[in-house]
Structure formats: C-alpha cells, structure tokens
Symmetry: D2
Subunit: 289 residues, 4 copies
C-alpha cells in the first residue's frame, strides 16, 4: 500500500489496558457546570429537571452498554461500574472512558429539550470529562460507592440549609449564611432547618438525599444465603462459561428493565438482595404484576 | 470530615500525564458508523451533509478549545493536534481525550437537525471514541497528518470507483465490483472511472479528495523566510513569556476566524505559509476586504 | 539555586506507582545464561552449586527487604512477592524492581566464589533483568506461583530424561534425543527413565523437582482454622494498626529465620499451615530444640 | 501443555514500552550510601577510590551495552543515555532499567577489591536503584546533562569548603561550618577557601569539579561544520539503513575505545566536536600514535 511510508507513526500509540480482574469505575463530571447552572437558571440547591436529565442519560448508557453492572449519580457527576471480569475493548482505558463520556453526552444533549422544553441550548454546550479507576476488591469498590453517597449526603445537607437561609424569609445574604454554617455539625444543621424553617430534613426527597442508583432489575433475593462479595473476590479471572450460557446471559440482560433508584448503597442490605450486581450472573426477571 | 473513612479510595487513581514537549494528537472515531450510515441512509461514497456536520462539530471544538492548533478530518474520524508546549489539564490523557470527545459529540448531536432537518435522531445515538498519541518531533507529527491524508486519498479513490461501478449504469453487484478492483493500482482506477463513466477523478470535490483541515486563519507568510519546523523542534520547553504577552496571544487567538479548508497538508507549502501552526505564535489577523 | 534554569527537566519523570491493594510479584531472570552455563561448565540438567548460589542470593534479598513475604526460584529465575498492603517506595515500579535486581546481583557476584571456589568470574559478568506484575486476588497470586512450579516440573522432567539419554550409556546425540521425546507425555518419560536407566524420577532431589521456596519461618498452624485467603482478599487497604504494633511486627520479622524449602506450593496445605504469608501478620517464633 | 490452566496469569503483565524517537536516560543511584560511606570510611568530601570504582563499573556497562551513547556520573549516581533511535528490548522500561542496574552492580561488586584491596565487603552489600526518563529533543537531553553537571559543581564547591572548615586547622565543628556557609554565594566560598586555607578551587581535580563523562572515542571534528543537534531532532524515526551498514557500525563501535573524561558538557563545544554522540553514527577510529 502506498501509505506505508507514513504508517510507522502507529508505533507511537501507547498501550493503556487496565489491570485484569479489577473493578473498573468510570466517573464523569460536568465541565464548568457552575456557569451552566447560572446560564440556564437551574434551581438551587437541587434542580429536579437537571437531575432527571442526568439520570435519563445515564440510564441510556447502562441500557446500551451491557457490561455496566451499576451506576451511581449525584449532582453533575456519574460513576459507571464495570464488572471485574469485563473484557470490553480489551479493557483499554481510553476506549472505555471515551465511549462512556460520548454516549452520555449524546443523550444529555438529545434529551435536553425533553427536560427543559422552554430553554434551548446554545454554545458553549454542556460537556463532560471522565477517567477510569481500578478497584481490586469488592470492599474497595463498595467503599468507593459509599464515598460518593456520603459526599452526596454531606453536600445536600449543607446546601439545603444554606439555600434555606438565603432563599426563605427573612433571607440572609450568602456570606452571612456561610459564616453561620461554618463549623456546624450535621445535627446542628438538622436543628437549624427545623427550628427556623420547620423543615424536617428526613422528609426531603430521596433523590436529593441519596443520589441515584441505576442497575438491571431482577427478583430480589433473601439476604444471608451466601456471601457474594467473598465469592466475587475469589474469582481468579473471567469465568469461562459456554458460549450458550454467555448468549443466555446476554439475552436476560437485554430483557431486564433498567431501574433508577434512590436508596442506601452503603449498608450490606442493598448488595445482598441484589447478588447479580457483584456476581455478574443475571437474576430472575420479575413477573409482571 | 465524616467522609474520611472512605476517602482512601482516591489513592487508586493512577496518573496519566502525557510526556512534556511532545505533540499531542487526539483522534476520535465514530462508533458503529457502518450501521449508522445504513440507518440514516447516508449517500455513498460520500454524504456531503454528514461531512459538513463532522466539520461543523470539529470547528466548534477548535473554536472552544484554544490549545488546539490544527485539526484534520476524513469520513467519521477527526484528529485534533495540541501544540507540544500545551499544558492544558496538566496534560492528563483522560481529561484531554474525554473533553474533546464530549465536546465533539455534544455539537454533533446538537447540530444534527441543521444538516439532517428531515431525519430525526433516535437511539442508539451517534457516539465517538478517542485516544491520545504523543509525537516527539515536527517530522513525526507531519508524517501522522500525511498518513491520514494519504489514507483519505486511497479510500476515496477506491470508494468513488467502487460505487460508480455499483450505482451507475449498467450497475454491477458489489461482489463483482470488488473483484474487478482487486489488485488495481491508482492509475487503473483513474482510467476505469474515465473510460466507463467519463468521470475525471481530479475534478471530484476537494473535500472528498483531501479531507478537511481546520485551523485559525491569519495572514499567510511567504515561504522560505525561516524554518519553523526546526525552530519548533529545538524548543526545550514551553517558552516562558510574560503574562502580558500570554494575554495578548489569547486575545488574538480568540479573534481569529476558524477556517475549514480542503488542501494538501503533505507538502511543505501548507506549513511554511502558516508558521503559527507549528510555532504556536498567533499571526496577523487578515484585513477584511 | 543557580541550578534552576535546567531543573525543569525533572518534569519529564513519569509516575509508575503500582495499583494499591494488589500483590506485587517481581520476577528476575538471568541474562544470557545459556552462554554463561557453557562458559562456566554448569552441570546438566541441574548444577547444584549454581542453584545453591541462586538460593543464597535470594535468601539475602528476602532477609534484607522485610516487605517480601515469599519468594520462589527455579533455574536462573526468581520471583519475589510483596504483600498487597506493601507501601515500600510508594509502590514505584522502577524503584522496587531495580532494588530487587541490584540487591540480588550484588549477592550473586559476592557469593560466587563461595559456590565456585575454583572458577573465577570474568567479563561479561552474570546479570539479571526484572519486571513487576500486580495480582489483584489471592487466587491470582497462587495461580502465578503454581504456574512457575508446574513449569519447573515440566522442564525438569523433560531435561532429566533428555540428558539421561544424552549422557548415560549408550549415549544418544542431542537431535535424536529430542526426536525421541517429541510428543511424549509425562508418563512416557517416567517409563523411559526407569526402563532404560533404572531411574525412578520420584527419587530425584526435591530441589530439582519442586524448585525453591523462601520465606520466614514461624510455628506451623493446624489447617482448617480459618480461611486466610478469603480474609486477605477482603482487606480493603493496608490495615492501619498502631505504631507500637508495627514496631512489634518488624522486630518479629527481623528475628524470624529465613528458610529455603523445596515443597509443593500448588496445594492448599502449604498456605494454610503458614497463614503469615498471606496475612502479613508474623507468626510465633518456633522454640529452639 | 499441562501448564495452561495457570498460564492466564501472564495476561496481568502490563506493557511499559517507552515512547519512540525520544532520548532515554537511565539514572542509577546508590542506596543508603551515607551509611556505606561511614561503614567503609570513604574520604570526605571525595573518595578517589570510590569514584574510580563507580567509573570502572560504568565504563564496563557502556562497553557491554553498545546502545549507550554517553554516560555521566557524579558522587554515587550515574546517568546512561540511549540514542533516541534505540530499539533495545523494544524500549521496555523495566528491561532496560533492570539490565543497566544489574550490570552496573555486578561490576561494582566484582571490582570492589581492586579499588579497596584492604576493605572486604560485608552484608548489607552496596546496591543501586534506577529509573528511566524520556527526553524528546536534543535541547531537553543537553539540559538534563547540564543539570547534573551544575549539580556536581554546586555540591562539590560546598563540600570542599565545608570539609576544609571541618578538617583543616583550626577545625570547626560541623554545625558551625554549616551556619558559616548558610546563604553564601559561589564567590564567597572561593574567597573563603583561598583566604583561610590558600586553596584555589580552580586547581582542584577535574574529576571532582566536573564529574565523569564516558563515551566511545573517535577522531574529534572541527566544530561549525554542521548542526548535529538540529539534524538529530529532525529525524523522524530510527533511520532504516542497510544490514551491511548496521554491521559496519556495530564493528566500529566494538572497536572504539571507551573513554572516561572530566570535561565541560554544558557548552556546545563538547557536543560539536563529538558529533557521533548525538548522531549515533560512529566516527573515525583515531590513529594510534
């Protein structure tokens, strides 16, 4: 081929395959979303439409890319988890990250008008960056997920209190509200919300307090039957199962409904009742009722 | 902070900064565009609307991200070049790649209806993947660009001939056309196009034959004055110029028109007349006429 | 400091920290040992002095570098295992690999005259290369160790048979021996050794059949008490224990005798009776008898 | 092969090839040499035997590994430079670094008794660690070399003055000497050396002031003929020359004397008169006189 003289430049591509047998987390973050929130008048402290749009885009990503076992989102960020046995794109980091970021962005832009029908997009458009991190053990992975959900909780409690002070009568200026909250503990903020504004933080919407968890929905399992985390950790490599079994799994995954949930993912209960997330073995499709 | 128990998971993030003083090329590719072309009935061998959409999205990327000095696109791929002195995102590969891919995707989806007003998008949406490659010398970078443009030429000549055989009377079936072309040289294809269909390949549109080059437009320079490539290669590191000069450069870059061009980038002429691409020093804004 | 003008070159150093919470295996290999064996007349198929020298050097490495929990050697290679909680040199790959390789080489050269008193070294001197590999789970690590020991077995059975054919009367030439062995199974080689040379392979020295395992020696534990592998896999990060406990562990490690053993490390028994290897908690120093 | 069940563990090896067309510098450093200096009573501020041993080991490394074009050493460190066209071990970082470190260590231990005939080595033995860094341009490489030589100069001037204050009559204690030197400039130290001890720093041995440069010796070239640095930078890839030419080059390299020199490598002169270092084309073997 006449092209051969220049083809040596391919040698400069460097390999970036992620370590096998580790959980891959791709986290994406909105770029310059502070400006974006102002530009499109997002409500403070939480804009429900914006969160629903994030969730819709993430749900489309999970639906399209079967290798994702669970995703967790809060504010303008979303984390997508690939099972440690995943071999998508030979685990090349840039392929995996760019595919997730691009697919998410495509749906975010495409679905914008559904959630913001009266607010057309204009340049610069919303965009996201992303990175991949590997976690060797189930405990590491769950600690990562807990880290994000605790972050959600801390930020939301702070923001709810801060914006109540600023937005609700008598209305404080931002600086004064910041100073008032400086050094307060969670209990102080709960108390302040209730005594000043009759707001019981526990009654706030779960989507604000817990963030959003996205996963395939199968029949829940009674906890205590067996320890999925341990079993998962012991796996040495991608279990080599028959092509027939692979195809069956694929079909079951494709059939499963993808769910957007707002629940605690820090405690064991969530994971024990949904063993398919850590085991990567699709569960039973629940009967329609 | 209450979050500290889980925060150790941040240690698992691995550094991916690209080697300083090298040219960074981010190439993005359409994912599954063969299916996409069929789904949306793209014209063969080239769909002008699809190419114009690619170029519009790429132009928006170059306009928004000032660190890009030149971009080159063909078919469903685009390569974005960052000057070797670029320090954007501390040269972190995943940040750079994901930002480019996301921004490109956002404009591609957003502008779709402009170029395909009668063809609404539906899931699965178009998406792109990307990767970054470093090139140490100007020669390496130019060889990379030449590689892509030669590829454009080879593919377009083949596709033009193949689809003429298939689409133009008398109309051959695909397999027969493939066999006919197997082993032919460029001259054979030129001849075949002319003798059978009176098509002079040289008169085909430049955008098909040369692909698309995107860069900031300043006054052209007489070639031969000095050797920008050599000067660029000798630079040891990001030239440390005054903050004032930096700001001036920034403004001039922001003012410059971003151009979509269809020209030869293999020969020296293109680069010698546009020294700002390799030098990263903005040129003179051309007078309006 | 006057040096600052050139100091920017430090920025070109790229980070190579190994993923936390994974087992690090550094394997070193003799460079050009085929030539070396010929030059110094190593006995075939195994030179006991050469193996003892390898083991002595490896033992010195394990003794000096407390972070190594176990090492396994065969022929001219040795694998050194660092516990997954190890933080030596911030887990920088080049630091870890180069330190192991250098320390090993130093002892190999220094101790040469002890094992080859009549054969002085001359240039080119023996040297070794090395690389680090991370294994996320205990099962992966044990499979790695098993891989090396199975390799030892396969090679030694082949070499023992081959060299018997060549060296023992009537004496075959190398090519004929190779052809004779081509396609034979293990059982065939056992049979051949016994029928032709009255050699019962099972009676061959353990060091040749099993290779060499090096570890700190504590009191053996009754197997079945608890599952160290599972416990190890569940650990999320380096257990944060008190400085006092750390110092105690260090002293116990320093006191422990480093053992060179020739035993099966594929079956569970070895690991269950020596839980300190996977747990990284020093055991009881055995009473002198 | 019976081994296949475990062989999957090979997949965990991660690729670490260094970027093509960049200069590779492998720097090795003595581990714990402060203790070592004390243990073996190295003279302060410079122990000539120790430096000669370092140089002898480095010379052996350069002689054995033909791909090294130049090496520079000072104190207990040595930097080995591979030409940017080098393809040794497919440029795998761990292979290159470990080979250099191991070969250097082997000679250091082996030659110890030549330079310290009355001081036998005892455990823990001297050892070295190492790392590889890539430099894209000749200017980067030369700045790296200059950085090390400036460091040599700064440290040696300080150490010479400090140890004169401590060792020569009337003899100051270390703390007082440190305080006296704190904040002094180069000129102050020169003055102090001369006024107090009649030492003209410029007359100190070149090996102490300049460090040691090691390279193959060919006929010097008149400077100004052509610009090797520029030519080197322009090279796009390993020049593909005929096998015959390769073999000729190899022979000339093998024939060339390896020189240990103590000269300025910061100024252009050194490099211009020895174009073979940057061009990687062996020069003329000088006539014996």
């Amino acid at each position: 081929m006449a092209n051969s003289r220049f083809e040596y430049v391919k040698q400069f591509e460097q390999v970036d395959n992620l370590l096998p047998n580790t959980w891959i987390v791709v986290r994406i973050d909105g770029r310059g979303f502070t400006k974006l929130c102002a530009k499109y008048n997002f409500e403070k402290p939480n804009d429900r439409r914006a969160l629903d749009l994030m969730n819709a885009a993430a749900k489309a990503v999970v639906t399209e890319i079967h290798d994702i076992t669970i995703a967790y989102g809060v504010s303008d960020e979303f984390s997508f988890v690939f099972h440690k046995s995943c071999t998508l794109f030979e685990r090349r980091a840039s392929k995996i990250v760019s595919t997730i970021v691009s697919t998410f962005t495509a749906y975010y832009i495409h679905l914008w008008s559904t959630y913001f029908p009266d607010t057309p997009l204009s340049p610069p458009l919303p965009s996201f960056d992303g990175r991949a991190v590997c976690y060797p053990s189930v405990q590491n992975l769950r600690d990562y997920m807990s880290w994000r959900q605790v972050d959600c909780h801390i930020n939301n409690l702070y923001n709810t209190t801060f914006w109540s002070l600023v937005q609700l009568p008598p209305g404080m200026d931002a600086k004064a509200a910041e100073q008032l909250l400086s050094g307060t503990l969670a209990a102080d903020k709960h108390e302040l919300l209730f005594s000043r504004f009759k707001i019981n933080y526990n009654n706030e919407p779960e989507i604000f307090k817990k963030g959003s968890v996205i996963y395939r929905d199968y029949e829940l399992v009674e906890p205590g039957n067996h320890d999925v985390a341990k079993t998962a950790d012991e796996l040495a490599e991608a279990v080599r199962q028959s092509k027939t079994q692979d195809d069956k799994d694929k079909k079951r995954r494709a059939k499963a409904k993808v769910l957007v949930d707002h629940v605690d993912i820090i405690k064991d209960d969530f994971w024990e009742r949904r063993p398919w997330i850590l085991s990567n073995k699709p569960g039973k499709i629940p009967k329609e009722t």
